[in-house]
């Protein structure tokens, strides 16, 4: 149903003049060259068309079918959007299959006036977006799934009452797959209640462990672990508005308040935050998410607010923001620091630098704010790596080496030697990237051998002889040629690996 409604929403956006007429619509997809129905709307279902039926059969049942190609990617992203939107009800949301969501509402329902009110609110809001939804609340995910899909009007299972509530539901409600369900039905086991009386061993022997497991999970005798979309934050602050807010100043003030709430909680726990996520729920149903990271744990509300300023300014709040939720995704211990009256100069210098790095990193991505770190290798291209400033252990000592170029090419580039002097000397004139350079001075060679304990494709052709070469205008290059097995240099091929100042 989700796919058809997603299509409806999409086309409504495209052509607002056309009123959607009640007509049987199916979405079709191809499998093994057969066109089949992947989703159908209410009118089509009323005609007897069911999903997974081939299109030819569906046409035979209802010749006036409107056929639209399915778009599973758009469906997934729509489901993802809805999942994001439902985080306003609970932080624990997971996606279930192609058209379902799990919400863990333990301890959340009372905030919205109880479970009944919550379901009503969810259904009304989703139907305003143009989606039909069915919700069910139960102790176990299995029971909730069964009730939502096959429960009819009933949608609440009282705590501990799964056994009774599920007994009348069809066997397929156990999520055991069509083939197994069909086989059970063939044996006369039509409802879940029929399974209760049967000996487990016999079922397990015939159908495998799945059926027993699913039944136990639905009844709450066995845990069913489901991972949420996003790890649960340990610190979370929320703010809902009676009237939607869209002025920048108001949003910022509210954000600061949320940050202060979280920071005071963090302070009690001696924690500092490394990653924060701000979810903005807009009136029209869209959800905007902002990520912010820091190089060290912090809990100064004003510092963090500065990091949000840049991404916030890019947000188009549309008709206004209804709810803001701030969650501290990653926290690290941060001990209390005493304010020093006799200010230590070093400390004072470190902190502004960290806040600068936070600002740079949150705009440019921390991957792009780097330090150069040595690596124990004598190969020039391996001796250094760029490491994000966020990474730990970036210390290391640089070995004393020969003179190295200021700029190193990532991949050595082949140069064309025009005239060579032979006798293990670099070419007198060479061409690189269409330009001719005539060499006036050389220094070298410096022989660098590959590391035999590593398999490096770039160095697979043996040791290299590196030369420092200067052309007539004073440009200085780092050229090399590769050595053959017998120790002789392959003078016909020269490569450029770097530039000196």
């Amino acid at each position: 149903m989700l796919s058809v409604e997603r299509w409806h929403r999409q086309t409504k956006h495209d052509s607002k003049t056309k009123k959607s007429l009640p007509a049987p619509i199916v979405l079709t997809d191809y499998t093994n060259g057969v066109c089949f129905v992947s989703a159908a709307n209410h009118d089509a279902l009323a005609c007897g068309v069911t999903p997974r039926m081939s299109l030819a059969d569906a046409r035979a049942l209802e010749p006036n079918l409107k056929i639209v190609p399915a778009d599973s990617r758009a469906d997934t992203s729509m489901l993802e959007k809805i999942a994001k939107w439902t985080t306003r009800y609970t932080p624990w949301v997971a996606i279930c299959g192609r058209d379902g969501l799990w919400l863990d509402i333990s301890g959340c329902a009372h905030l919205l006036g109880g479970e009944d009110a919550m379901i009503k609110d969810l259904t009304v809001n989703l139907s305003n977006f143009g989606f039909t939804s069915r919700f069910s609340i139960a102790d176990t995910p299995g029971a909730a799934w069964a009730m939502a899909h096959y429960g009819g009007e009933e949608n609440l299972i009282a705590p501990g009452a799964q056994r009774l509530a599920l007994s009348s539901l069809p066997i397929i409600a156990l999520r055991i797959g069509d083939s197994k369900a069909a086989e059970l039905i063939r044996l006369g086991i039509r409802s879940i209640g029929d399974l209760y009386a049967l000996p487990r061993a016999a079922i397990a022997k015939r159908f495998g462990m799945v059926i027993g497991e699913r039944l136990d999970q639905a009844l709450g005798l066995m845990p069913e672990p489901i991972s949420p979309r996003r790890p649960l934050p340990r610190y979370r602050a929320e703010c809902s508005f009676l009237e939607p807010v869209s002025r920048k100043e108001n949003i910022e003030a509210c954000l600061l308040q949320l940050l202060k709430d979280i920071c005071s909680n963090l302070e009690c726990a001696s924690q500092g935050v490394r990653q924060l996520i701000l979810d903005l729920f807009l009136v029209e149903g869209a959800t905007k998410t902002l990520h912010v990271g820091t190089v060290r744990p912090v809990r100064e509300a004003k510092c963090i607010a500065k990091l949000f300023a840049e991404p916030l300014s890019k947000i188009d709040s549309g008709f206004g923001i209804e709810t803001m939720i701030l969650s501290a995704q990653v926290v690290e211990p941060l001990t209390e620091s005493q304010i020093n009256i006799l200010v230590d100069e070093r400390d004072e210098e470190i902190i502004p630098l960290a806040s600068l790095l936070d600002r740079l990193g949150s705009r440019l991505n921390f991957e792009h704010v780097t330090r150069l770190v040595p690596r124990a290798s004598h190969l020039p291209d391996r001796a250094m790596r760029q490491v994000s400033v966020v990474a730990r252990n970036t210390q290391g000592s640089w070995p004393e080496t020969q003179i190295r170029p200021l700029v190193l090419l990532d991949q050595p580039e082949s140069v064309e030697s025009i005239t060579g002097v032979g006798d293990c000397q670099p070419p007198e004139v060479f061409r690189w990237r269409q330009n001719k350079y005539s060499v006036s001075a050389t220094e070298g060679p410096e022989r660098i051998a590959p590391e035999w304990w590593r398999r490096d494709r770039a160095w697979s052709r043996g040791p290299r002889d590196y030369w420092r070469v200067e052309d007539e205008e004073g440009r200085r290059f780092w050229l090399f040629c590769e050595c053959r097995k017998d120790g002789q240099c392959n003078l016909s091929h020269w490569y450029l690996h770097g530039f000196f100042a």
Binding site: L360, L408, T442, G474, R476, A501
Partner: protein, 242 residues
């Protein structure tokens, strides 16, 4: 009107300057270690609270040299480059100029405006010693003015590096000095003598009227910068003195 000449005029100028730029300008500078050059510059070196521009095909070498000089104050150095995966600044090569790697932060930006933004953020930060920004195009007057104001608020040095751009930049800009650094062939023919030879010209400086040029040589082994004529004269002059 003679009473306004000399000392009084200078005092008045200083007063006006104070009004124009309310923040006290520290007259500190980064010395190059060469008297001939340092004495030409009004601040006695590369001025802090100012933005400088470097062009020429050895611009990055000169920037690395200045970064090495700035490392002596133990303050971090921000080097903003365009995100180009084909080539990179090489640590051991920077080390030749005395750059301390634990002070160096390299910021890889995707666009020119990101480089300018990162430079501005860095310049505003008092704890930073030097901010280098590699830009392929010349900077507009507005952008250079913004950088200049940021440098003044943070008492930092900004370096706009047009590496590989050898032609004269004519566009108006608010930079304090403009340098051109070209590589020159080593004096001793046939070998490079472990030295780096540059033609250093000061194309623009507020109180220096005409363009000045020096021939300098960086000694890779001794890690010192020396005037080429100086070095020659020195060897010639010393026997005479003795």
């Amino acid at each position: 009107m003679n009473i306004f000449r000399g000392k009084d005029l200078r005092a008045l100028k200083a007063q006006i300057h104070e009004i124009e730029r309310p923040k006290k300008r520290r007259s500190e500078s980064l010395t190059l270690g060469l008297k001939a050059i340092d004495s030409t510059l009004p601040e006695g070196g590369i001025a802090t609270s100012a933005v400088h521009e470097v062009t020429g095909n050895s611009g990055n070498g000169f920037a690395a040299f200045l970064a090495g000089q700035a490392c002596r104050s133990n303050r971090p150095i921000l080097w903003c480059v365009e995100n180009d995966s084909s080539k990179m600044l090489y640590g051991p090569g920077l080390g030749v100029f005395g750059v301390k790697m634990d002070l160096l932060i390299i910021v890889r930006c995707l666009r020119t405006d990101e480089i300018l933004w990162a430079m501005e953020e860095g310049l505003k930060e008092r704890s930073i010693g030097l901010v280098v920004g590699e830009l392929s195009k010349s900077v507009s007057l507005t952008a250079s003015r913004r950088l200049q104001l940021a440098a003044e608020s943070g008492c930092t040095i900004g370096l706009i590096l047009h590496d590989g751009v050898s032609e004269e930049i004519a566009a108006p800009s608010a930079v304090t000095t403009r340098w051109r650094v070209d590589s020159l062939p080593t004096l001793k023919s046939g070998t490079m003598n472990n030295k780096t030879h540059w033609g250093l010209s000061l194309c623009r400086c507020r109180s220096v009227a005409e363009e000045k040029s020096w021939d300098v040589e960086w000694d890779n082994a001794a890690n010192t910068l020396a005037l080429v004529s100086d070095a020659k004269c020195g060897t010639l002059a010393s026997p005479n003195q003795a």
